[in-house]
């Protein structure tokens, strides 16, 4: 089932260097690991867990991705970047399918992705979805400050600089920080 199915079957642009390489799924995964989320430049699309399937199609590739949030403006950019990365390495055509179900969850974020987030100054999502239910004034289990490591932190706003983040502040080092909220 594909909502928002986009096919990018445009001919190979002239003047682009065609790289002769082994074409297999492993190569595709390696290339995808180079495609970063424009709003979280330390995370690749593989780290984020949005790549659901990779298929080799003769000379081309078919990539199935799932959006993080319905309105995430980074998704369009990510789609374009995946296409550019793969076409510049000789995959043609590149087809990108967007699937909504099963819905993306932060559980799919890689362990190394979580560590990269923390190093970047963003608290990674807590491992379990504890408070993704609509009960009022509930808070997640303590979120650890990515700067000083304290668990003595408080939420300032459930909605942060992007749809996927909430705004927190550390009560010890006083630094405000983004928390990649569980979803």
């Amino acid at each position: 089932m594909g909502v928002n199915t986009r096919s990018f079957g445009k001919p190979y642009p002239s003047g682009t260097r065609r790289v002769k390489k082994m074409k297999n799924e492993e190569t595709i995964w390696k290339l995808l690991a180079e495609v970063k989320d424009p709003e979280l430049p330390v995370l690749s699309v593989v780290d984020l867990g949005i790549v659901r399937k990779v298929e080799l199609m003769d000379e081309g590739a078919r990539i199935t991705i799932t959006p993080t949030y319905s309105g995430c403006p980074a998704m369009d950019v990510i789609t374009i970047q995946i296409r550019m990365e793969l076409t510049s390495h000789g995959f043609n055509p590149v087809e990108i399918i967007t699937e909504l179900s099963p819905a993306w969850t932060t559980e799919w974020m890689s362990v190394s992705g979580r560590e990269k987030l923390r190093a970047y100054g963003i608290a990674p999502p807590n491992p379990k979805q504890q408070v993704c239910t609509p009960e009022y004034f509930q808070r997640e289990e303590a979120v650890q400050c990515p700067h000083c490591g304290s668990y003595h932190t408080g939420m300032i706003s459930e909605f942060g600089s992007t749809a996927c983040k909430a705004l927190y502040q550390c009560e010890d080092c006083k630094e405000p920080f983004d928390y990649f909220k569980c979803h």
Binding site: N4, S70, S157, G160, S161
Partner: protein, 266 residues
């Protein structure tokens, strides 16, 4: 008739998303400005998903749906239609949203109360739609529900904060509830296309959501020290294309660019 159902769900999300986006840069403080803008973004993303599906349904059976959209700008579209044609090129009478979603954003109390009423309804509705036999609608519902849960919690907390806040915030909440209450009844009255969708077991009778919705409203209002109005009179017609004057102004803003500069991209 999943075309009209999908169009209706898209219109609801787009109107509410657009109204919320009017707060961007004007929120009561920075954090809440960001919050309401994020909610707007979620809603417009949901609208895109439903419009894309509606467009695919339209393209697959043009003869069946052609008569439903007669605006001259829409009729000029050559070839297959897409999400943007549905969002930007219809006239007011061709929108199928609930009236409550198109009303002016009002003050913060009106925006919060409207968001709470609609999120509480959407939460119930999407919880069922995610299990419906139409795979695409089910997938969009599953995705949307995760976001709606956040919207409901955020708006419900604000209802309590404002209702149980100062004399002034309480007064504004009471005014907002009185203003919006007559528009809530429409959420639970099936329009023609909803009856068709019920017959094909895509959706349940929206009347079934009235009681659980009311329970959430009552329990939230109780915590907020607010009263649920007794009136049961319902203003309706939005789902059949009869709208308030406020939709015209909204569309003038929303559609201006595409109508003045057709096919403009940025």
């Amino acid at each position: 008739m999943s075309f009209l159902l999908s169009l209706h769900l898209a219109d609801d999300a787009l109107m509410l998303g657009h109204r919320n986006s009017e707060w961007t840069g004007h929120g009561p403080n920075l954090e809440q400005d960001i919050a309401i803008s994020n909610i707007a973004l979620d809603l417009i993303g949901q609208a895109r998903n439903f419009y894309q599906y509606a467009a695919s349904q339209f393209n697959a059976d043009r003869d069946r749906y052609r008569g439903l959209i007669q605006s001259p700008a829409f009729l000029q579209v050559a070839g297959a239609i897409d999400e943007d044609d549905l969002a930007y090129l219809r006239d007011a009478g061709e929108y199928r949203n609930h009236l409550i979603t198109e009303l002016n954003k009002g003050d913060w109390a009106v925006t919060i109360t409207r968001q709470f009423f609609v999120s509480a309804y959407q939460q119930l509705f999407y919880s069922d739609l995610q299990h419906c036999p139409n795979e695409t609608l089910a997938a969009i519902a599953e995705k949307s529900l995760k976001e709606v849960n956040y919207h409901l919690r955020w708006s419900g907390e604000w209802v309590i904060r404002l209702g149980d806040g100062t004399v002034e915030s309480h007064r504004r909440m009471t005014t907002a509830i009185d203003l919006l209450w007559p528009y809530t009844g429409e959420l639970f009255i099936a329009a023609g296309f909803q009856k068709d969708a019920m017959a094909s077991e895509l959706i349940k009778d929206p009347a079934m959501y009235r009681q659980p919705w009311l329970q959430r409203v009552e329990s939230t209002f109780e915590q907020a020290g607010l009263k649920v109005p007794e009136s049961t009179w319902a203003q309706q017609g939005g789902k059949e294309g009869t709208h308030t004057e406020q939709l015209g102004y909204l569309l003038a803003d929303l559609q201006y660019l595409q109508r003045s500069h057709p096919n403009a991209e940025w």
